[in-house]
Amino acid sequence: MYNKKVMDHFMNPRNVGEIENADGIGEAGNPHGDQMKIFLKIRDNRIEDVKFKTFGCAAAIASSSMATEMIKGKTLEEAWELTDEAVAEALEGLPPGKLECSVVSREATHRAINDYRKKQGLEPLEEKT
């Protein structure tokens, strides 16, 4: 049901792990009980390194892997703009019903960015809806 790209990011997820003394940490979950935790190392407003841990289905793990790849090296503003659709597209598609599994990646990323901003004394950015 999953395509090759998804299976690759699921079987060999990039950026798995934690960052000690991370500059920003974000966590998000969904009603399935799925959970993602993301760790950012930030230098000059840019994501220098990123790690994640995810509890969830293959789509959730692959999305986490892909999302972290996509925000690595980006400015915080650029990273903020990453959409679920962009992640799904980069994965060359997710099965119906599994699109929402990438939502946790975006939410966790947003929270990690705001966690960093808070520590820096900055206003948190706001979700557009």
């Binding site: 999953y2 997820p13 399935h32 009980g33 799925d34 841990k53 509890f55 289905c57 793990i61 019903g97």
Partner: protein
């Protein structure tokens, strides 16, 4: 980790079809295509195949051929038994007793009947999934018209005390249906002996090395039940529709093979299963779901804490191991397995459940292989999990 190996450990989902079974079916897909209802010779071949299969099923169950009705599978059999009895006995009452760990093929018909004015008691089971016959007895009311309790559960393998339940039902004059879809071939049934209090029994060929889309309902003589599929005069006018002759012939052969030497067969499967179980239990933070002893010989159901079942299943699949899970992620529903919930497994633990069901496709080497691969896969997923602190 090994490659190019296929270890099928999902026999509770479906089984391969035995060679002899396929061979029994083929003539009815090729030359013997006549309609069994036809009077001329080539129809009679089909008719004979159907009746031969009926006899084989009857023999395997300790029933009379007249009590066997062919259906399109376990699901239809369950629907027929539950709704057919409910509607036929509506004037006598509206109360049905079942248990929350039944297959959806029993539960959803019950839910449907609730929308039609019936009352259903979902009798709680214990932490292993077992029904207490005394509690069942206490739940029987004046207006109870049906008891439906499965012979053995498809997820956790728990074997219910069918004789005791049947006795209680019989003493109160309540018809008793049992979904025996998972039971056939695993222990012997005897509807004239120990199972004599069973009034209706469902089975499905693809769970005992027969084809998919064919099943049967045993209906004890004298049982009050409406037809569910109306039309032609097939199946003594109780279940209409041109017979799936090839499927029926295949099911006849399959049940004959599956019940030829149950004890020895079950023993062999149980031995493999027990070694696998012992090995898996050495993985930390792992628990067995279901009863430690009263379970189907091929069934194992574990929860691995901190990881999610669909991921586990898919990683195992990548390693050539076919399994099943009660995780919500795998089903697209929000709630994990209704069976695990009903026996009190917390949702986050139910999410990490894995069912391995052994059968004739397995060898001791399969056990070795799973014992080699599974701990590594569990470890790999735990390393990704935000919940796991080694």
């Amino acid at each position: 980790m090994g490659e190019n190996r296929l270890v099928y450990m999902d026999h509770a989902a479906t089984t391969f079809i035995k060679q002899e079974v396929v061979e029994t079916m083929l003539p009815f897909l090729k030359d013997h295509f006549g309609n069994p209802s036809s009077l001329y010779s080539i129809g009679r071949e089909g008719k004979e195949a159907v009746e031969t299969a009926r006899e084989k099923l009857a023999k395997a169950l300790g029933a009379s051929p007249e009590e066997i009705y062919f259906t399109s599978g376990g699901t239809e059999s369950d629907n027929w038994a539950v709704k057919g009895t409910a509607f036929a006995r509506r004037k006598k009452g509206k109360h049905i007793i079942t248990i929350p760990i039944e297959h959806h093929a029993v539960l959803y018909p019950c839910k449907y009947l609730e929308t039609k004015g019936f009352d259903v008691t979902y009798l709680p089971v214990d932490e292993y999934g077992l029904v207490d016959p005394a509690e069942l007895e206490a739940a029987i009311r004046e207006d109870t018209i049906l008891i439906s309790v499965m012979y053995a559960n498809n997820e956790i393998g728990t074997i219910e005390p069918i004789s005791e339940i049947g006795k209680v039902a019989g003493e109160h004059g309540v018809p008793f249906h049992t979904d025996a879809v998972q039971a056939i071939g695993n222990f012997s049934l005897d509807l004239k002996g120990k199972d004599r209090d069973v009034n209706m029994l469902s089975l499905s060929a693809h769970k005992f090395y027969g084809p998919k889309g064919i099943g049967a309902l045993y209906i004890r003589e004298g049982t009050e039940i409406d037809s569910y599929i109306h039309g032609g005069a097939q199946e003594k006018r109780k279940r209409a529709g041109t017979e799936n002759v090839a499927g029926i012939a295949g099911m006849g052969k399959a049940i004959e093979l599956a019940t030829a030497n149950i004890e020895k067969h079950a023993e062999k499967i149980r031995k493999m299963r027990d070694r696998l179980r012992k090995g898996i239990m050495e993985i930390p933070h792992c628990r067995l779901n279901g009863h430690p002893e009263k379970r189907l010989p091929g069934n194992l159901n574990f929860s691995f804490e901190y990881i999610e079942g669909e991921s586990l299943l898919l990683m195992l699949d990548q390693m050539g191991i076919c399994s099943s899970t009660g995780s919500a992620c795998s089903s697209g529903s929000l709630d994990p397995s209704h069976v695990l919930s009903a026996i009190g497994v917390p949702p986050e633990i139910a999410q990490g459940s894995l069912r391995l069901t052994l059968g004739d496709a397995n060898t001791e080497e399969d056990v070795d292989y799973v014992l080699e691969v599974l701990p590594q896969v569990v470890e790999k997923l735990r390393a990704i999990s935000p919940f796991y602190k080694p």
